[in-house]
Symmetry: C2
Subunit: 292 residues, 2 copies
């Protein structure tokens, strides 16, 4: 299977799995529409594809990871819905489409986010293809990565960091939680399902750490040089909010160099394991080499 | 142990458990303060006490339920924080204290709610006093009760029902989800930990169904006749929002009668089981006979 075939096929499987999960929910129609709207708003599905690519690297049946992958994308999606709210980033557009609250109103957007987060846990816990200890380990990982010590804590620190000049260490601490935690959890949840060895998990953590930072550097660079139309949202937002970014701290060239270094370190970590890392290498390039 | 001793002792234990859980979280300080603020804002702790009273009714060690009880109160608390937001009920006061967003700002309040919901799942999944199948069953119950087909769906239906005259059936459908789902889950999670028989679980479901409705009827009555100072929040809010309520649909006397009927049905359900139901009976009275 080529990388492109992997991307195309499994993106579809993940999207089907998410859709099925929402259809199977007996709920209020407007709430379901609002949840589906953001789940269907596209994106590269990097997190769920990391789950499946990790499973395949360990020669494990990808189907075992569908629900976990879908759950991961739901958590990511909920975080975007809440981040876009007027009280947070106040974004009207995301991936070229109106943000959830612009279509369904703020109250429903808040509830749709809450419901997606909750649904993610439901999807994993009721996944009878996985043993109960595996489900428990996955939920532990998800809760830790998505919660106050992970993504939500990073988001809070990010808000508090606006209008302040942060050190590189502070900036990395924010992004390790805000973006890195879920990317890490995606890779590690694949490792949990594949029952990877402790040594391999450590190597995967290292890999995930570097792609997490690479991802954020990329995002910051795109915010400076990107084309609003291509990004599907307004660019230059970081500068408007006077946010500390990698290009602001390291210069644009320095940021590009740091990006290359983290990408290399990520790839090196993969090469220490006896796995078929081709898809994970492909995803690393996708994360790190976007349109610039 | 008298009912008052039960209330006093276990309220304290639940509050300690919640506090420990927040202290143990490595997170952003403001986020933690915001989470603690609402957890410490008081309330009767009916849901977590229902968990523990059910355990005691089955002669099961209450300690086994502390984390589950704390998790339940966290989910309840997150729902209050989000419900109070300007985009939702726009309440400035709750239990006589400023609401979370009035103190910490909207962004942090949204994130504190998200973090409490996530923390609830973390608390249960990492509770090593419980077997992995029990933890899986609890999380399944929590996710279903709190999510789109439960509490969040009920909240959405409640918003859509404003300015509309609902039938009694519609009103019960909303409250069965908005308030009833968590009250039910509190009782049923006690049953899961105590490994109650299927017959007893059915009886407990019946019990929980009736106290859920009783709880809501009471709330509606208090909103009409309650004293704002005693309630710690503004009353008459339902009428302002032109919400359908039990007193509006049944008259005040009719609502009081329905309340008595549901309370009796709840108690009857308890009497079909061979358990020591005294604490559950006490909680039923607490729920159904508030200050009027």
């Amino acid at each position: 299977m080529t990388f492109d075939q992997f991307m195309q096929h499994y993106k579809q499987e993940i999207e089907n799995c998410m859709k099925q999960a929402i259809i199977a929910t007996e709920s209020d129609q407007k709430l379901e529409q609002s949840m589906m709207y953001s789940l269907e708003a596209g994106g590269k599905r990097i997190r769920p594809l990391l789950v499946l690519a990790t499973l395949i690297a360990f020669d494990c049946e990808p189907k075992l990871g569908y629900r976990t992958a879908a759950a991961m994308e739901m958590i990511h999606t909920y975080s975007l819905i809440h981040d876009d709210l007027p009280a947070m980033d106040n974004d009207d557009f995301r991936r070229g489409k109106l943000t959830n609250h612009k279509v369904y109103g703020e109250a429903t957007a808040i509830l749709a986010g809450d419901a997606l987060l909750t649904k993610a846990f439901e999807l994993i816990v009721s996944d009878t293809k996985l043993s109960t200890p595996v489900r428990v380990n996955l939920i532990q990982l998800f809760a830790k990565s998505a919660g106050a010590s992970g993504m939500v804590g990073g988001q809070q620190a990010d808000i508090l960091g606006e209008n302040q000049t942060l050190s590189l260490a502070d900036l990395e601490s924010i992004h390790r939680r805000k973006t890195g935690a879920l990317l890490s959890a995606s890779v590690l949840s694949g490792a949990i399902i594949a029952e990877a060895s402790d040594a391999d998990r450590l190597a995967l953590e290292k890999f995930a750490h570097h792609i997490g930072i690479a991802f954020q550097i990329c995002d910051d660079i795109l915010d400076v040089i990107g084309d609003a139309e291509k990004m599907g949202k307004k660019t230059g937002a970081d500068a408007d909010l006077q946010k500390s970014t990698y290009p602001a701290l390291l210069s644009l060239e320095g940021a590009k160099q740091a990006l290359a270094e983290h990408t290399n370190s990520a790839k090196k970590a993969l090469h220490t394991m006896n796995i078929d890392a081709s898809l994970l290498l492909g995803l690393t390039d996708l994360i790190a080499v976007r349109d610039f």
